[in-house]
Symmetry: C2
Subunit: 268 residues, 2 copies
Amino acid sequence: MSLISFLGPKGTFTHEVANMLGDDLIPYCTIPAVMESVANGESTYGIVPIENSIEGPVGVTLDSLAHKYDLKIYKEIIISINQNLIVNPGTRMEDIEDVYSHAQAIAQCQEFISKNKIQPHYAISTANAAKNIVGYRNKAAIGNSKAAELYNLEILVSNIQDNDNNETRFVVLSKDDHEPTGCDKTSIIFSIYEDRPGGLYKILGIFQKENINLTKIESRPSKKGLGKYLFFVDFNGHRDDEVIKNIIEEIKSNTYFLKVLGSYPEFR
Amino acid sequence: MSLISFLGPKGTFTHEVANMLGDDLIPYCTIPAVMESVANGESTYGIVPIENSIEGPVGVTLDSLAHKYDLKIYKEIIISINQNLIVNPGTRMEDIEDVYSHAQAIAQCQEFISKNKIQPHYAISTANAAKNIVGYRNKAAIGNSKAAELYNLEILVSNIQDNDNNETRFVVLSKDDHEPTGCDKTSIIFSIYEDRPGGLYKILGIFQKENINLTKIESRPSKKGLGKYLFFVDFNGHRDDEVIKNIIEEIKSNTYFLKVLGSYPEFR
């Protein structure tokens, strides 16, 4: 039986994803702690969010994969994010003065919050926010229905996010990536030489030449100064495919840092 | 005399930058409020942070420039960010249980915080964090020396950021951008057609052909779904230069969205 660690506590969106994969679940309270548990063998798989369609990349996930842990992406899972206004039973909209949630959830519901003139406060997770408001009539939390259920709270308003295209992509990390399935994606990170103009153009040309489709390109500061970037690129194909192998070799010889985060089945 | 609005309250890093530019300063408590004040003519210039070398882009600045306000970048200013542990006079390290700061400052000092086993809490700004701890022996704030001064607090430990390459780039926004100086940069935002593979490659090729150096490339979610991006690109040259004019025209005909954020002197 495989142990699965996830970004907890119970009742988070990551918990919802973990439930889809197995029963032997352990929550950890930070993203690096989930990764650490896979790295040291306490768990076989670890689930963390990697990007949201509204708020963008989850910086700590990308930075930890780039700089701290040698883990592989074994699987990707994409779910729709529906945020709800969670309250104690009997609370009415006009009672609410303060609302608590994770910074990303607050950012996703900015219009709702300002329209209703309630004061936002940051919590370490959506589930923790729900836990914090138990017993307070003038406080609300923002989170998923699981969080409301867990703490015997009610959903006063559902789907309060500003934008309906709200999806989060999660990755299942492990020590090894996934064998080829015929419909795979590969994720890599690289840094280009800053003293060679057109470096990124050259790398993109390698994919273009082989007609390989990029599904994501994201830049992150390399932490070495402004204007110095790491690029996170996802593309179709498995690193065991002959054409992908050659692409990776060619990128390696044109970058000063390259890390293959792994190949895994495309989510559908 | 020109009124300058900035991301306040007083004592923030943005205030430090505003002080370099003039005396007639008005603080606003959010980045969109600063932009709104320039858009509606309450102030002539507005100063906001746009990117940090460790934590990356300031999402709300980029998103507001892309989707909400038609403002131009008139100037850029880059300063080194030194974070300090700020306490009430007489507080010792072992007294501190909680530390307050802006989310970016907390993120920049993660190693210091976890090494000293203090509990981080988010505040809306570094200056607000300093204000909040006045009178509490067991609380500290993270911020600049100005914030400590303003509230009669002391710096217990200086330069507590994880990484010494910590710089923030600020932009001065106005209704018009800057006339050419001979050493300028231009900022643009664009979206590529998703159904045309190699779209970004083609755009980068336009710069490459004219040997124009990109000083920044940043992707942000377009808020239309995962894998759909806006690209923020900065490059050398002024939009009044003949070669840059042609480049912008060529990009326009290869993208479905293009916004020129303006041309301004390169900071040195």
